[in-house]
Amino acid sequence: MENLFGIPMQSIMIALLVAFGLCLGVGGWIYLRHRIIFRMGIRNARRRPAQTSLIVIGLMLSTLIIAAALTTGDTLNYSIKSTVLDILEHTDELVVPANGDDAEANVQPGVTFPQQVAADLEAALAGDAVIDGVMPVLTQPVPILNPKTQLSEPMVTAVGIDPAALGPFGGLRDIEGNDIELTALPEGAVVLGKTTAERLDAVVGDTLTVYVENEPHDVTVAAIASDSILTGMQDPGQAGGFVMALDRAQALLELPGQISFIAVSNAGGVADGAEATDAAVTAIEQALGEAPYQAVRVKQRALDMAEEGANVFTSIFLVLGLFSIAAGILLIFLIFVLLAAERKPEMGMARAVGMKRRQLTEMFLAEGIAYDLVSAMIGAALGVGVAFVIAGVMGRLVGEFFDIVPTAHWRSLVVAYSLGVVVTFATIAISSWRVSRLNIVRAIRDIPEPQRQRAGNRWLIFGILGVVLGALLMWVGADTDKLFPYSIGISLLPLSLAAALRRFGLPARLLYTVASLFVLTYWLLPDSLHQKLFPVLSGGMEMFFVSGVMMVAAATMAIIWNAEVATSLVGLLGRTFSRWLPAVKTAVAYPLASKGRTGMTIAMFSLIVFSLVMMATIDRNFTELFSGEEAAAGWDIAATRVASDPMPAFDQALAESGVDTSKVAATGRLRQVASYSSEIRMAGTQEWKRYTINGVDAAFIEHSHLPVKIRATGYDSDAAIWEALRQNPDLAVIDGFALEGPTVQVGSPSNFILQGVQAGDTTMEPIQVEIGDPLSGRTRTVTVIGVLDPKVSMIFGLFVNDAAFDQVFAQPNQTTYYVQTQPGTDDVAFAKEIKAKLIAYGVQAESLEKLIEQETAISRGFLLLIEGFMALGLVVGIAALGVIAFRSVVERRQQIGMLRAIGYQRSMVAASFLIESTMITVLGVGSGTILGLILSRNLMTSDEFTGSSGAAATFLVPWGTIALFVGIALAAGLLMAYIPARKAASVPIADALRYE
């Protein structure tokens, strides 16, 4: 990967290496200046191997997550780029009839131009140092059948290339690497692409039937070659095609003297050829002059998209991984607080005999660096392992399109390792400074710090700083229309104010409870109320993390300061089971007495569970939304046809081909022009944008169930909208993706946005837009009178009636015939029958239910993968429980001895530890679950989402998935507590009483 969040990876690496060097420098400085301090720190790391192992596990998590995210990006980047280069080989640019901006322009099915253009271009570019090859290419989609196997493909690409121009494009080779001479092939012989051969189960020597203008033509398989643009594979996942000499292809396809595009090869190899794209495009444009053709940077564009795609995934994994990283930072802090508590008396002694506070900090830093360097190394290695597992899962999900090759780039590992070390070091430095501030006498005697009614000046200073920072962030956010700083500010301000007011003796419980409830209210208020009380600002994916951290912080504060109420319930339970009351009493008392460590552990669980519940809930609701009954608009089968040659009316074609039409209840036709072949703009504006445009016939309108989300004034029902559209070619309906949300902007900048109506609106004024065909230059104005409900997920774009469509577009990119079947029909089998019987017309028929299932399976697979990745954070919480439980046994050894002496059974001591761990886990998991559910409910029922997605009519809770997370967290928490609990129970009483 070259960039991350828009910053070059090389720069990130250099900056992190400098920071890493500083961390090492600090360690080296301690070693050189205070060797004894350094040794004391290092020896501490070796004192308790079990505890050290837990610490290393906790510290490595951040590095693991960063390494896994970056390596996943590397894997995707490499895999997509490899696929792109395999397909394009030496082809760097295409020359096509001018049809729009460079970002969208492409080869268009059915659009051809004279071969002479290629000859002229080649002549003009002769001797150009940048370009080493120009080749005319003809491509047409055709249906194909293997009579031997009876397997067919309704749309493969027939390709004709000029054998004389093939040299600079690397020639043509079969899958075993043997050169193929196209001119030497006999008449009617073709070279079949690998994917097409597999789909047809065809081998060399087979005779295949190709349908051109509905007429069958036999071709013979002379060789099978790897998939590439030369064998008809233009994009990953397509069916591919076959190639033959250009003149024979022109004869077969009945397009003499015509080509579809000109392939251009830059000087250099497959990968480095793209580097000369800018120079090549300049040369091509000069050569083309005023001719109506344009150069398409096909390879550079694909490579950029690969980079962008990899970046998107890396960002998703990194942002979602932030929850685990945050929990990991809390764990590091907690570990050092516990280490300090354990060593308090010896630290007090060290201070008493002359060790300075700074030296205590250095001792902890030395110890921390030792943990840090080792754990980051393990984390980076395990992160690569996790990324490779992710790659395996992705391979199963998208293997049809891309061959996912697990790849780890050394630079990503350096970045992950350095970043892990630096983040951990910073946390260790802060916690070391904090633990060094101890009272020598109290430390030596191991007396707890006194609880003051009135907080010290430090609280006042930090509180005021927090209030100022919070107010500043709010102002910046409101001024720049950014939710991120505003929401942090409005959360920070009340919490800081509470801290400051403690200085004046106000009760901490009241202050923190009020402050945290305010923060929770801000985040959890329903959208409608929120918009009335607070400014509406723009935010992105990062808000997911910010909301989680702020709400969890506030909720944890509220829990900790009011835990007596919650724990009295546990006490009641203890009274019911009076035999266990003593165990419950001690189990409840200890965590309440250590608010800091208990709060941190609760927050860790809460953060992770919050993120998991949010993801699972959004996943469940979106899956339900897009795969619900309305997804296919009431149709059962979609029969799509790309070929432009004539075909009888669909019902007639079905009947004539012998399809059992008694199974057909209704049919409808939708002709579609893809976004790259169409133009659209708001009436009266200049800039053309892109959008899919559909022409629908009367039958389609009559038999579809197409709910309208936003109706224009004057139309009192969905039926009125569609009836008007059927009759009037001046009207249109558009889908919800064209709407602008109040805060979230999605999609490419060239995508059309309908002005004058927003997601969340319920009515609209009719809006005029202009649509056009860039090839013919014909345009037309239509009036949008409704916005389609996004629950209809299988049909999208702008809809006009046939008359309006025909006035603008010469031909569609594809035509889809929708079929409603009679009850009891096996749609999958019937779709197969339609596909087989209409093979001559190149009709690809699929059951819509099956298509929805397939699409849902891929998206759900990705979401589950991400949830699994996020669940890694649970390890942090579990490790924290383990650290606390182990530490508690050591810390309370003498008290355990006393409890045993006064009559606690072994089981009671063990139960006390287990109840304590369970209670902390339940509080963390419970608060995370509740926060996650409330926020996701607010999100799914907000105007923003109901408007653009149609969600939330019913809010669905994935109880099964949540129960699984909760169950895993509780079981793991119990398991982590079980070992120390057993250890505590088996402590010899006399030894424990002697323990100091």
């Binding site: 007396i447 707890p448 006194p450 009274r575 009076s578 035999r579 009351l581 003593p582 009493k585 001690t586 008392a589 200890y590 309440l592 007495a593 003498q894 008290q895 001895g897 006393m898 409890l899 045993r900 002496a901 006064i902 009559g903 606690y904 059974q905 072994r906 009671m908 010899p988 009483i989 006399a990 009483l993 002697r994």
Partner: protein, 246 residues
């Protein structure tokens, strides 16, 4: 009540045998550290009568705390027998021994060993709850005993908010709350100044006489030993003298 130090010891009278609550015969205990075997008790014979207040004294490392731990069943012995109110603790299961301890014994330690996270009354009521006494009754009794030791006003304070003497009084209250037959006290005044130590000992003495409970007090302080009925002196894991104060 002021304590009266006694300087001279007299032999134990066999007449006490009729009301013996602690009987130890040939008790041996060795600590094995893996590299080193340290004999802590080497054939200890001892009897203590019901209602007696006995001091076990001797220099550091002589085995007095080990003897207290072994007698009270907190630690195991290698050889010999120990009968508490006629019950051989070594023959009981861990659970039965624990229950026996909860019912029949109370403990006072030098460093109080109170649970820092519980209030004074919660600390005191713990042995009752362990013994299955209903929470309401346990709380009532705990408050009564706290009143007995003069701490009713401090019932809802945590140990960190109490002075050393007050903490030890809470410990004594906790030891007495289940009305045990025997109270074991290991250096109960070791962490207190002399005035507070006197007050604590006076309290224990008073409770001993009022309730006729047996007190076994380990101490290295002759003044404390002098306040007991009888002093057992130990050296190198053996009893070297056993007698009442003259």
């Amino acid at each position: 009540m002021p304590a009266t130090p006694r300087s001279q010891l007299a032999p134990v009278e066999a007449a006490r045998d009729t009301d013996v609550i602690i009987r130890a015969e040939g008790v041996e205990k060795t600590y094995d550290t893996g590299k080193l075997r340290v004999p802590a008790l080497r054939g200890v014979d001892l009897t203590v009568g019901r209602g007696e207040m006995v001091a076990i004294m001797g220099p550091s490392g002589c085995g007095k705390t080990t003897l207290l731990n072994c007698l009270s069943g907190l630690d195991t012995i290698d050889k010999g027998t120990i009968l508490i109110a006629g019950t051989d603790l070594s023959k009981l299961s861990d659970n039965a021994r624990t229950e026996f301890r909860a019912r029949e014994m109370g403990f006072v330690f030098q460093f109080y060993n109170l649970l820092p996270v519980l209030t004074a009354v919660e600390n005191v009521e713990l042995p009752l709850l362990v013994s299955g006494v209903r929470p309401k009754e346990a709380r009532q009794r705990a408050l009564e005993v706290l009143a007995q030791v003069g701490l009713e006003r401090w019932a809802n304070h945590k140990p960190a908010e109490l002075s050393g003497g007050q903490r030890q009084r809470v410990t004594i209250a906790r030891a007495l709350v289940n009305r045990p037959a025997i109270v074991w006290a290991d250096e109960p005044t070791g962490d207190l100044d002399s005035q507070t130590a006197d007050e604590v000992m006076a309290l224990m003495r008073e409770l001993n006489q009022t309730n006729r409970q047996t007190f076994v007090v380990v101490t290295h302080d002759p003044r404390i030993g002098g306040m007991c009925d009888r002093i057992i002196r130990m050296q190198d894991g053996q009893i070297v003298s056993d007698g009442t104060a003259a």
